[in-house]
């Protein structure tokens, strides 16, 4: 039974991915019988490389793919190095999950309204300070070099990496490490950076790769914040896939492959940087230097994450205000009136989508969790090394969704599977699985093996040991994984729309459809609804262990 789990996961991912990739590969070389194209050719690649602005577009995607993880990871590390039990830190840690729950597009939309020339910040300081009666003509959003895009990505990825780090830290016995280094005369921030960070990074490597892939291939954030002339490669590819001229599908397929190559290149460069950093790091770690840089660590650690928190909180506030705003003209700092109209107009169309969303995310998450736990338990029982097949897990994140899903629709259609709830759940599973695996595997593998050995010497069968020892001890880890999985499921748009043939409306499909109408108030309402559900999941993931372990100090301390 257990042995089947990894095979099942691989089949579940490989099947659709093979189909998906094939469906990108063939048209990229000119083969798409439905459009009467059956001859292999390289012309679409020539076309692709002749696209105006392609080089800059590639450059921006690549830089965003690398700078985002560098900045986000550095800030998370610097923050953790200087974090304490102060109210501010406890507050920030509590904010992590809700911030993570806000869908990327919604957060980007909120940020755009916050920093735009006509945005909230500008309104707050106008006209009394700036003298602006009309918004200044400044290129802030959609700037040519993708700076606001990267800002949006960094701000959104910090909570993700922070959550991953907080989940991994308990295994590292941080206090003892830091205490030891401090007893050797290291200042606290440096002590953390030199004793904890090097041990923490390997645990965060997979999430960092996910960030690289996401940052180099994001569509929704790039549309809202990214440069426009040219846009990032991902946005251009999406445009070609949606072009009314179906001949653009060939160009889109070639572009999708290029996008895949781009994300892989970014990972490759990251690995090179890792090698360089390792060499430099050893030198730094062993230099014996124990004071120099402490101030910098504190400044960046406190300042960086505080700024990110303020920006995110400001984005959320923007959404909140817009969801209730009546007429609100620049430079007013506050809407003329607060109204419930936007919510009332959304209410009647909320019921069915809400129900669908809950069912789909619950089933997909439970299935993903069961499969991942089974695979990890199988690995644990048979002393298997992490296999290279883990790379398959990343493919659903690597291949542009539209390209990949087109193939999937062809596949399910040809098997005559009717579009509907089961198919949508299946499609969600493909995207939920990697994240659940990503979040859970490290914690699972790093659980002290002596606990299971001890259980065995006390006569517990492997099953009993799993249910009574490993599962409860990892409660917090798998609940967090489930919450992330559910959040991923809730945010899925294209898989829901295409595999459900539009017949399975969810909160997100409704939100995206209405977002295309551009009404900021309506977008804000749906973004909040969209964020509320995963927030609920994260709150459960936090409070259930807290409640269950209220009398178990070590367990509470662990998390």
């Amino acid at each position: 039974m257990l042995r089947a789990a990894p095979v099942l996961i691989i089949l579940l991912l490989i099947g659709p991915i093979m189909v998906g990739l094939l469906m990108v590969l063939l048209p990229a070389f000119g083969y798409l019988p439905a459009l009467n194209a059956t001859e292999f050719t390289l012309t679409h690649w020539q076309e692709l490389f002749a696209v105006p602005g392609l080089v800059r577009s590639l450059g921006i995607s690549l830089v965003a793919g690398l700078l985002t993880p560098i900045l986000a990871l550095s800030l998370v590390f610097l923050y953790l190095a200087t974090a304490s039990e102060s109210w501010l830190d406890r507050w920030i840690r509590r904010l992590v999950s809700p911030l993570l729950a806000v869908p990327h597009a919604a957060a980007a939309f909120g940020l755009a309204f916050l920093i735009a020339p006509s945005g909230l910040l500008s309104r707050l300081f106008s006209p009394w300070m700036t003298g602006w009666q009309r918004p200044p003509d400044l290129l802030i959003i959609n700037d040519t070099y993708g700076i606001s895009l990267m800002l949006g990505l960094v701000v959104k990825e910090i909570p993700f990496l922070l959550l991953m780090a907080l989940a991994a830290l308990p295994q590292l016995d941080v206090q003892r490490r830091v205490a030891m280094a401090r007893s050797l005369g290291y200042r606290p921030g440096l002590a953390w950076m030199k004793t904890v960070a090097p041990a923490l990074y390997p645990l965060l490597r997979l999430p960092v790769f996910a960030v690289i892939v996401f940052a180099s291939s994001t569509v929704d954030v790039a549309i809202i914040l990214g440069p426009s002339l040219p846009g990032t490669l991902s946005v251009m590819v999406l445009g070609w896939f949606s072009d009314p001229d179906l001949a653009h599908r060939f160009l889109a397929a070639a572009g999708a492959l290029l996008q895949l190559g781009l994300s892989l290149t970014a990972i490759l460069i990251w690995m090179l940087l890792e090698a360089v950093a390792r060499r430099y790091n050893t030198h730094w770690l062993e230099s014996g230097q124990r004071h120099h840089g402490e101030k910098m660590i504190w400044l960046l650690g406190r300042g960086g994450v505080s700024l990110a928190t303020i920006l995110t909180a400001g984005s959320l506030l923007s959404l909140l205000m817009n969801a209730f705003a009546g007429f609100w003209r620049f430079p007013a700092s506050f809407p003329d009136s607060l109204v419930l109209r936007h919510w009332l107009s959304a209410l009647p169309s909320l019921g069915q989508p809400l129900l669908n969303t809950v069912i789909i995310s619950l089933v997909a998450t439970v299935l993903a969790l069961a499969l991942v736990l089974a695979a990890l338990e199988n690995e644990h029982r048979h002393h298997l090394k992490t296999r290279s097949s883990i790379w398959f897990l990343y493919l659903p994140l690597l291949v542009p969704q539209l390209a990949f899903l087109f193939g999937l629709v062809v596949f399910t259609e040809s098997l005559q599977w009717q579009p509907g709830l089961p198919l949508v759940i299946f499609a969600h599973l493909i995207f939920v699985l990697p994240y659940v695996f990503l979040t859970l595997s490290e914690a699972y593998r790093r659980l002290d093996p002596r606990w299971s050995q001890l259980a065995a010497t006390l006569g517990a069968s492997p099953n009993r040991s799993f249910w009574r020892i490993r599962l409860p001890m990892l409660l917090s880890a798998w609940l967090t994984a489930a919450a992330i999985g559910a959040a991923i499921s809730i945010s899925q748009f294209l898989p829901t729309q295409l595999l459900g043939a539009g017949r399975v409306p969810t909160i997100t499909t409704e939100a995206v459809a209405l977002a295309s109408g551009g009404n900021r108030n309506i977008i804000s309402v749906w973004a909040m609804v969209q964020a509320l559900l995963p927030m609920l999941g994260f709150m459960l993931a936090l409070s259930v262990p807290r409640f269950l372990w209220r009398n178990r100090q070590t367990m509470r301390y662990l998390h």
Binding site: V19, A501, E510
Partner: protein
């Protein structure tokens, strides 16, 4: 092993995309009673843009009406982009699904229609068999027979009109420009007060077409396929105009809004004072939503602006073709057209000819004009859409000139 089987299966599918048996139930779609009979208790999945609450509410009303009239279960599949539906039909064709498609009715624009028609993704002809087709008075309104100059040939049925209108904030602008050349003059005096969505966005390309038509020395060339014209010569005035216009645009033309929706948002935020839309009622609707100030007014350029008709099409493999036809027919009824034109509901422009109606039916169309709507006589000033082949050509040339600079 399993991998191999999947792969083989796939190759089979790919090389043999249309092997599935054609087993259409033989309905005589020319006999309206038979169509209505067949339509009874069918479900119609209507894939239509869902970006506007009013639109969605209107379609919900349509669903209730066709349920009452014909026992048809109409489901509005809300799209963010029509391409989602086109993708789906394409995938179904690829997989050999010829009679069990998931989409029964699509709201299309010209380019999507041309593309789907050319690739055999549409069912038809069926539209001219609808009883309410007569209300269009196609003899006197030939525009309902052409979708961007492509002959419709009964492959889709009209349901609404679209017309390019400009709108401005009358508190900030006293005399808006009335022609494309005047626009250049106006922007140079009001820098940063105007911009347009970046092609290949549909509305952005429409702006290019409008400008090209007004500026070209031989506008007739734009109604022929682009391959038959001297592209350089026809479009030279357009590029000269844009080169001079861009420095005066919002953000000095270094960044353009992504869509018409974003353009309206710039207007709503007071970043610009002049914008345009393909829906004559857009400004009125936005004022009612509290997005735009009540001082906004709409107008049509003095030489006329581009106008077209929105259509409904049925995919080649739709499951409920009869019911889809019944829905399309209902949308042409005076009842539905009047509701669509009612400023309290959709505020759009009816596509049927009032001359074909009896006085009682005509009475349905007497609405009080909202000040933000363009005057009825202005809406007579229409330019027909150029040949669709000009769209990709203009988009390509625009990107070539202005992207990656």
């Amino acid at each position: 092993m399993l991998r191999l089987t999947t792969f083989t299966l796939l190759l089979l599918l790919l090389t043999n995309p249309l092997s599935a048996q054609e087993q259409q139930t033989r309905t005589d779609f020319t006999s309206w009673p038979q169509v209505l009979n067949e339509a009874r208790s069918q479900t119609v999945y209507f894939n239509a843009w869902g970006g506007e609450q009013r639109n969605n509410d209107f379609l919900a009303w349509v669903a209730a009406r066709v349920e009452a009239l014909y026992s048809i279960d109409l489901q509005h599949v809300k799209l963010g982009d029509t391409a989602e539906a086109v993708s789906r039909v394409l995938a179904e064709k690829q997989a050999g699904n010829t009679d069990n498609g998931a989409i029964d009715l699509i709201w299309l624009n010209g380019e999507n229609f041309a593309s789907m028609k050319e690739n055999g993704l549409l069912f038809g002809p069926w539209a001219e068999q609808l009883p309410n087709h007569a209300l269009l008075d196609a003899e006197n309104h030939p525009e309902v027979r052409y979708d961007f100059t492509v002959p419709v040939e009964g492959m889709e049925s009209p349901w609404l009109r679209a017309h390019l209108v400009f709108y401005y904030d009358s508190e900030l602008v006293s005399a808006p420009p009335l022609s494309i050349p005047a626009l250049l003059d106006w922007t140079s005096r009001h820098p940063g007060e105007f911009t347009y969505p970046r092609p290949p966005n549909f509305l952005g390309t429409t702006f290019l077409k409008q400008a090209a038509l007004e500026l070209a020395t031989t506008p007739a060339a734009l109604y022929q396929p682009v391959t038959e014209a001297d592209f350089e010569q026809v479009t030279a005035p357009l590029w000269e105009f844009l080169d001079r216009l861009h420095p005066h645009l919002l953000r000095s033309g270094r960044s353009f809004p992504a869509s018409g929706a974003e353009l309206r948002r710039y207007m709503s935020d007071g970043e610009i004072a002049l914008a345009f839309s393909f829906n004559p009622a857009e400004a009125m609707l936005a004022i009612k939503n509290g997005e735009l100030p009540p001082s906004v007014r709409s107008y049509v350029l003095s030489g006329g602006t581009l106008a077209n008709v929105s259509f409904l099409a049925i995919p080649f493999n739709a499951r409920s073709k009869a019911a889809a036809m019944a829905v399309a027919n209902f949308l042409l009824s005076p009842e539905a057209q009047a509701r669509a034109q009612d400023p309290d509901f959709l505020g759009s422009t009816a596509v049927i000819a009032l001359s074909q109606l009896n006085p009682a039916q005509r009475q349905l169309f007497n609405f009080q004009r909202h000040p933000a709507l363009p005057a009825a006589e202005e809406l007579q000033r229409q330019l027909q859409e150029p040949h669709p082949s000009w769209m990709p050509a203009l988009e390509q040339a625009w990107l070539q000139r202005y992207s990656g600079r």
